[in-house]
């Protein structure tokens, strides 16, 4: 039996992520950053950089073919900040829906979360380093980031190799269920970035299908 207060808090917690994705080539990074700086809230301060290390852990279950995955992220800028993230099944929806919606639960943790996951039975599936820039406009978060492959396991600072010569652009909002007005705002924002980057809802399952 869950504590009613806790249940209420969980109900109020934002667990739906509205997401739009796109990508740009390295050469057009400057232009996009410039545009984002103009559009987003903290125009007067320099753009915020981030470096994160993400480790994806998976556990196999005999009854379900798809393994359950958790991703652990920790900042390399503020190394004491660790986070465990569960991403649910993403809903594409039909044409009337402007963004992809997926269930998303973020929990701040301490640094021994890795040990905990190991002991529960999770195994490391893959890991990577993300470097990029972060912007926000109201509740909308925009990240422009590049994913690096780690040549040596556990080495997050050296021996990094970029996978593709492009940057991933993500526009996301965390909200409680049923706030579809946000999707409209996001669409409008994406429109303003139009010639520089095409932000769309991207079906990951289709990508996975073509990849295999």
């Amino acid at each position: 039996m869950m504590d009613p207060q806790l249940a209420q808090a969980l109900k109020a917690a934002p667990t739906n992520e509205y997401l739009l994705q796109g990508s740009i080539l390295d050469s057009s990074l400057e232009v996009l950053l410039c545009r984002l700086k103009g559009l987003c809230d903290h125009a007067d301060s320099p753009e915020e950089k981030f470096v994160d290390h993400e480790m994806v852990y998976a556990i196999k279950n005999a009854s379900i073919p798809q393994p359950l995955q958790y991703s652990v992220r920790h900042s390399l800028v503020q190394p004491e900040n660790w986070q465990l993230r569960y991403l649910g099944h993403s809903e594409m929806g039909d044409k009337s829906r402007h963004t992809l919606i997926r269930n998303c639960v973020d929990v701040a943790t301490s640094d021994n979360v890795l040990q905990f996951l190991h002991e529960v039975g999770f195994r490391l599936d893959h890991e990577f380093v993300v470097k990029g820039f972060y912007f926000h406009k109201g509740r909308m978060k925009v990240t422009v980031s590049k994913i690096f492959k780690m040549m040596q396991q556990g080495h997050t600072t050296d021996n990094l190799e970029s996978i593709v010569p492009s940057y991933l652009v993500e526009l996301s909002v965390l909200a409680t269920a049923g706030q579809d007005a946000i999707a409209e705002d996001m669409k409008n924002f994406a429109e303003q970035l139009k010639p520089l980057v095409q932000l769309e809802k991207i079906d990951h399952r289709r990508l996975q299908a073509t990849g295999t």
Partner: protein, 632 residues
């Protein structure tokens, strides 16, 4: 045959009762009659009663179904209709003949006026006031003519001036666009002067409209700023000049807060219509900002449950900071329209507080800044708008108390009140210290204020010196002024917390002065080779001081034949006693040694005023020198 009797067919001459009035105690009953209807009105009324639809239905319905049946039945009684094939045709012809004859009758009646006169059923229209109509028509014509003339003139001018004017507008628009947010809606250009993009969440928007000026420049007064071909239209409630005025007043303690009068300073600057758009927009923006400050403060004043009630009256917020000290924040806004009615009197000297006004502006800007500057999330998937400390709250297992403290957000009003309290306290302390510094000559007070201070904290070092002896001997204490208390640290490191009451600080200063006199005496004693016999900081004997305690020092001359006792109290002042040794005393003493000769001798007060010297130490020095010399 009888002679025809004319029968008048008209409505009964009775008036209908419209209303029954009962007056008094039901004794007097009055009936109010409706006015008599005229003939045409009556006709109209009756005509209203006729159900035309019903008649039509009867006429139309009968020929189709029932009418035929009836006629057939009739015919069946007279002659056999079914036997005659032209029966239906005959019937129809007969019906049409009846209709035609009725029509003819109606026409005859209508045409020949001897039967009936057709009159308009509707009531006669009120006779038109021709003069008024003519006047309004004339006015409409002149206004439209004026509009046409003006536009024609404008067209003429714009053609005559060519493209120069046109370019002017666009250059101005370019300049405007560099500084202000503009967008085009339809054919109009709208701008936004609100602080929304800077983080404001004020409900009132600041939309203005950009127009191209086409009025002739010759009508402008001489000396006005040359403006370009651009004009901005600011919404009515943002026109004029506004500012926030903060006053800190001392009011009698018994005074009721509600009796505070609301007043608006009569002299406010106005924005002339001819000013350049940049100044106009800036003034409007300032109006908006002041309104936001005031509405924020007013909201907080109503919402917060503090022990001291805040009062919001019209454009004024009143609150008590200390008993008897009142803070009032006033929003002054003049739209500049009132000024036209009467010339303003000479501006009264307003006793307002620039510093607090400035800090109010600063506080709101800080609030705006916080609204849009979130701490960056690390890792980047973390929720935005959450501080690092809050993110770490879970992993660090913070308790409820810590979380509540984190959520505690000080309101604008609370911050201003705190600053006001500090301001008042600082002023008071300054006043007390300065007063003593001016009035005291023996010893003297010197105040050194620290130039590094904040809006909630300041400090000062006070030196107590005696003139001529200030190189080696001085006494000092530190005064730290906080929001509603003062902390003083004495030279020995003793810490005392004083409240906002002036008296406490005054007592403390007096006590320090009395201490200073004793330390000066001690120093002199040491310098001149006297022996200190006894010293005490809290003398338990003698008259009671009004505050604190007196301190005392007893010292003996180098050859031990004279002794001085000095007592220094905060309220009683400094007194010097000398132990004199009467001659007969020597014979009583058992031991012949000279140093015992004083035992049992009485102390007598020395009138220090008789001595020459600028201050107490110099007088004491003289006394000691004399005593040293006479003893040898």
């Amino acid at each position: 045959m009888t002679t025809p009797v004319p029968v008048c067919v008209e409505a009964v001459l009775e008036s209908q009762i419209q209303e029954v009035r009962v007056e008094g105690d039901g004794q007097d009953i009055q009936e109010v009659y409706a006015p008599q209807l005229s003939m045409s009105e009556n006709l109209a009324k009756l005509a209203n009663k006729i159900d035309f639809y019903k008649d039509e239905c009867e006429e139309k319905g009968k020929p189709t179904s029932e009418g035929e049946k009836e006629s057939e039945e009739e015919k069946a009684t007279t002659f056999q209709p079914s036997l005659w094939p032209w029966d239906s045709v005959r019937n129809k012809l007969k019906a049409s003949l009846t209709e035609m004859s009725v029509l003819l009758d109606v026409l005859n009646i209508a045409k020949r006026k001897n039967y009936m006169v057709l009159d308009q059923v509707s009531q006669p229209a009120p006779d038109p006031k021709t003069a008024l109509q003519l006047a309004s028509k004339k006015q409409a014509l002149t206004t439209s003519a004026n509009i046409l003339m003006n536009s024609a003139e404008r067209l003429k001018k714009s053609q005559a001036e060519g493209t120069s004017k046109h370019n002017d507008f666009h250059i101005e628009l370019l300049k405007l666009r560099q500084n202000w947010r503009l967008k085009k809606v339809g054919n109009t250009i709208l701008g936004d002067l609100s602080y929304k993009t800077a983080g404001s969440r004020f409900w009132q928007g600041g939309t203005f409209e950009v127009l191209k000026t086409t009025t002739s420049t010759s009508t402008e007064p001489e000396g006005s700023v040359t403006k370009g071909g651009l004009e901005v239209v600011i919404p009515n409630d943002l026109r004029g000049v506004a500012y926030i005025q903060v006053e800190v007043k001392s009011v009698p303690e018994k005074m009721d807060l509600t009796s505070a009068i609301m007043r608006l300073p009569s002299e406010l600057g106005t924005v002339h219509t001819g000013t350049y758009w940049q100044q106009k927009l800036q003034a409007a923006q300032n109006v908006l900002f002041c309104k936001e400050i005031f509405s924020q403060l007013a909201r907080e004043a109503v919402q917060t449950n503090s022990s001291v009630p805040h009062l919001v009256v019209g454009n004024q917020i009143i609150t008590n900071v200390f008993p008897g000290i009142q803070l009032s924040i006033i929003l002054c806004h003049s739209t500049g329209k009132e000024k036209n009615k009467r010339p303003p009197p000479a501006p009264p000297k307003l006793d307002h507080n620039h510093v607090l006004e400035h800090s109010l502006h600063q506080l709101l800007r800080e609030l705006h800044y916080k609204n849009i500057h979130y701490p960056p999330p690390h890792p980047v998937t973390a929720m935005i708008g959450v501080s690092k400390k809050r993110r770490m709250a879970g992993p660090l297992a913070m308790c409820r108390q810590d979380l509540l403290e984190m959520a505690d957000n000080e309101s604008l009003l609370e911050q201003v009140i705190k600053q006001t309290k500090h301001h008042v306290l600082r002023q008071k302390t300054m006043g007390v210290l300065d007063r003593y510094a001016i009035t005291l000559s023996d010893p003297q007070l010197a105040n050194h204020w620290n130039c590094v201070n904040s809006s909630l904290e300041s400090s000062c070092r006070v030196l107590i010196t005696s003139q001529g002896y200030d190189l080696r001997i001085w006494h000092s204490f530190m005064v730290h002024i906080y929001v509603d208390k003062i902390k003083v640290i004495t030279r020995e490191g003793r810490v005392l917390i004083l409240s906002y009451e002036e008296k406490e600080l005054e007592d403390f200063i007096l006590w320090q002065i009395s201490q200073h006199q004793i330390s000066v005496s001690q120093n002199l004693c040491r310098l001149m080779g006297w022996h200190m016999l006894n010293t005490t900081g809290a003398l338990g004997v003698s008259d009671l001081e009004s505050s604190a305690t007196a301190s005392a020092l007893v010292m003996a001359s180098p050859n031990h034949n004279k002794a001085l006792a000095i007592k220094s109290g905060p309220s009683t002042g400094t007194k010097v006693f000398i132990q004199s040794c009467p001659k007969e005393n020597q014979s009583r003493i058992v031991t012949k040694d000279e140093k015992w000769s004083f035992v049992g001798c009485e102390f007598q007060e020395v009138d220090m005023n008789k001595f020459e010297g600028r201050n107490f130490p110099s007088k004491l020095e003289t006394l000691m020198a004399v005593l040293t010399r006479t003893a040898t």
